[in-house]
Symmetry: C2
Subunit: 144 residues, 2 copies
């Protein structure tokens, strides 16, 4: 029985590594990213989901390149005055299942004035060596 | 000799189909896209390089989804008052060589006032059945 269990574990592990990711996986992932943002704040979520080489394209500044630079940018930035929510509309994934993207709509709410800004975003995802997905690029622009 | 030529053509065709695209191919492609824009204008270039499912994320409007909608959007838009140039900074491509992206910096010059706006863009590319690359998403935001 012990041997059978070991064989089963090896087989299951092998099968799980072979399962080709599908676009729905990225939709789910992007929603989990938004959930984590809501629970733990901008910096935590954007660091948690960043690949080492991740790039942020944010308005009015040069591209922020690399996880260290992203960390530094969020150190100098407070998100306590607003909330950001987003919802992916679409996902696509490469045949090799290692690169994909989501795009969707976001809403930013400034708490003090209760004013709302809406916009669009795109997130490009890359599968990491451990099978997890991290974003390699994230950006967007205002207005719908 | 005739048979040899035919065999050579078949072999060369087969090899060329097997050559895995590399990021430098997307850098070159994105520059060709910018060149075509300069030569033939915004609508021509953005239609020429659009996949059927292409999406534009432009400021202050909802995502423009599909080549037909992109065509309609450019019909109602004149780019004769400004020029747009761009330069890719980086490209990445999936292992399967069917999906990739470039990002870089753009400069928009308003001819009448000679005033300049700079910004960042990202273009996601998908290889088509005929081996050509078309963009499936393009967007960006202002300010460096």
């Amino acid at each position: 029985m012990k041997h059978c269990s070991i064989i089963f574990i090896i087989l299951a592990g092998g099968l799980s590594a072979c399962v080709r990711p599908i676009p729905e996986d990225l939709i789910k992932l992007d929603k989990e990213f938004a959930d984590l943002y809501r629970e733990k704040g901008m910096k935590y979520a954007f660091m948690e989901y960043a690949a080492d080489s991740a790039v942020l394209l944010q308005r009015n500044i040069m591209p922020i390149v690399g996880k260290t630079a992203i960390n530094d940018a969020f150190e100098a930035f407070s998100d306590t005055g607003f909330t950001l929510t987003w919802e992916p509309l679409y996902a696509e994934i490469s045949k090799s299942g290692d690169l994909g993207y989501t795009y969707g709509l976001y809403t930013s709410l400034i708490k003090s004035s209760n004013s709302q800004t809406r916009g669009k975003y795109v997130t490009i995802w890359k599968r990491q060596a451990d099978g997890s997905w991290k974003y390699v690029l994230d950006g967007g622009n205002e207005g719908l």
